[in-house]
Symmetry: C2
Subunit: 165 residues, 2 copies
């Protein structure tokens, strides 16, 4: 008799948990945007780096375009080149942030099992397994938000606690 | 007749891939440590924040103590209170970093399937599912490394590319 026992794969994180993890991080980044004074969000920088609003522009593009690309295989950034469309005030940035939250909630359930281990060219450029691209999107946000923490500290502002999701 | 079909769970990332992901991030952090001038690693700070070496001390403690805690259920930081044991020069920090790399390689294969969804008190204090604690350890490193990037930029030094793992 054949042994048909399939060993249980070690599930590190389920799709539902990963969605929660991602949105939790995005909730923290939202608090960091809120913590910036209106003007400094668009002007403050250290050592020739981008402003935090420019980083947020990138994060919004990647998150919205990323979840859509993962779910559908069609890759384009949220703004796809219409740079002028990015909001010019904090309220607008926060509103856009919340729209992306909804886009993620909309597309995430459409991701098919097995998709995470397919190889795809994210945004038509970055060939990788889908799970690695997804982690890159999230890690990239954590990275830039960490940079935003230093901006806030340099401005004398206490950032939100890192574990507050 | 009963339908015994078990739907394939969507594997986002396998343990082997997660190990590679973690060590890839640690490789990048190692490059950031290397990029600091010897003295500034232990002295430079912005806005009253910790030096990058103090952050690295935390990362080393969490990574080594974290993987051991996940694998064995015994939680203690690498230095467990012996603060004086942390190296005072860059070569020593890098050597310690590499020792932690080996500790992770040693303990990771001992993690039992199913462990990632157990609830445990990380370091006797932070009650969470094990996968959430693991992600916290990695995310915390990305976060502080992002802060280190701003330190380097403020010092006029180009940090390594974020995608260089």
């Amino acid at each position: 008799m054949e042994n048909n026992t399939v060993s249980t794969p070690a599930i590190i994180i389920t799709p539902e948990e990963m969605l929660q993890h991602w949105q939790g991080h995005r909730g923290l980044t939202r608090k960091v945007i809120e913590a910036f004074p209106e003007d400094q969000l668009f002007t403050f920088s250290i050592g020739g780096m981008r402003t935090f609003s420019a980083m947020v522009h990138e994060l919004v593009d990647i998150a919205a375009g990323g979840v859509r690309g993962i779910a559908t295989g069609e890759w384009k950034t949220l703004m796809h080149g219409e740079e002028d469309a990015f909001p010019k005030d904090k309220a607008g940035v926060l509103k856009l942030w919340d729209q992306v939250t909804e886009i993620i909630e909309e597309y995430w359930p459409q991701i098919k099992p097995g998709r995470f281990h397919e190889v795809d060219k994210a945004f038509g450029q970055y060939e990788n397994t889908v799970y690695a691209s997804l982690l890159y999107f999230i890690d990239n946000e954590i990275h830039h938000r960490g940079e935003g923490y230093v901006y806030l500290r340099a401005l004398g502002i206490q950032p939100p606690f890192f574990w507050e999701r």
